[in-house]
Symmetry: C2
Subunit: 191 residues, 2 copies
């Protein structure tokens, strides 16, 4: 079926050919256009997305209309509203394509089957969530301990490929500041 997702699996687990084809039967491919919405805030999320090609953004819009970006996902990343997905509750997030993208979808029911039939996926997602947890914990530390300028420079340094694809307004929404303020930081930071 697909290359990249099986390479992704193989980072942490080994699958036989027959297992691979079984896994394939639980996955489905989806092509989306730029700006297409995959999950809308308020819905229940029942898909776990893997980005084969392209990029996605997961963001929240609050009562005042302010947009806050939770994460961006490039090729080879997994993304979903984990809270909504695992607890099957109403989502706080909207997930949309930043560009034309090719995704692999794993839906909630199929993931439960996968855990049951191929327990090695417990291990795979254990490691995936472990890394996600580490990333988010690090982000929490940065958010509470660094200045906005430091966090901006850090973001650019850490995710250069992301910076290529997104606007400054979107970086601002990831950092939790206004686009105007980010603009003034950039100016100051360049001098």
């Amino acid at each position: 079926m697909d290359h990249l997702i099986f390479e992704n699996f193989s980072k942490h687990i080994t699958l036989s050919d027959s297992e691979k084809s079984y896994v394939s039967s639980l996955l489905s491919e989806k092509n989306v256009l730029k700006k297409e919405v995959l999950l809308r805030q308020g819905q229940t999320c029942n898909k776990f997305f893997f980005v084969e090609k392209g990029s996605l953004q997961a963001f929240n819009i609050n009562e005042d209309g302010k947009e806050s970006t939770i994460m961006f996902a490039l090729s080879d990343w997994w993304i979903t509203d984990m809270d909504s997905f695992v607890n099957q509750t109403t989502s706080n997030l909207t997930i949309a394509a930043l560009e034309d993208s090719k995704l692999i979808e794993l839906d909630f029911a199929n993931l439960q089957i996968l855990y049951k039939e191929l327990p090695v996926f417990e291990r795979f997602f254990r490691i995936l969530f472990q890394n996600a947890y580490i990333r988010e914990q690090r982000r929490a530390l940065y958010n509470i301990s660094m200045t906005t300028e430091e966090r901006y420079l850090q973001f650019v340094k850490k995710y250069p490929a992301m910076v290529e694809k997104i606007t400054q307004k979107q970086i601002a929404s990831y950092l939790g500041v206004t686009p105007e303020f980010l603009s003034s930081i950039k100016k100051k930071s360049a001098s």
Copy 2:
């Protein structure tokens, strides 16, 4: 061996008596006094702690001496510097006891054995990390989208048992603001 940790395991997995006693052999008990340090920033963390009784704090101190709290752990919580623990790298965090506490330690090598001998622990920690990830992702959203006052009220509402045990200075270090500013928020918020 211990009650609470096996109740904690049983939230997500089922263990036979013989499995329980095997698991016990990989765990060790540790009693610590108030202010005792379990992990010091700069060391490599090789223990995963479960709090049977008492409470812990994990925090970072930056170059300027500013303290930032990553998490507090009460009874029935797991805590470690996950980054340092799983990647066996130098820790950015110090973990210390907020009061006399009783802990269960699972060390890095034993956890690898546990994954191998009882793969059901892959599932257990998959769910644990999944929940930890959800919590941290939610925290990231709060950090970038809410005012400090909202985050303070939220913290108090969400972790009332924690608030009992910690100082306002520590809450401030979790929220990423100065104690002086938190004091002024409380005053304003009370009126």
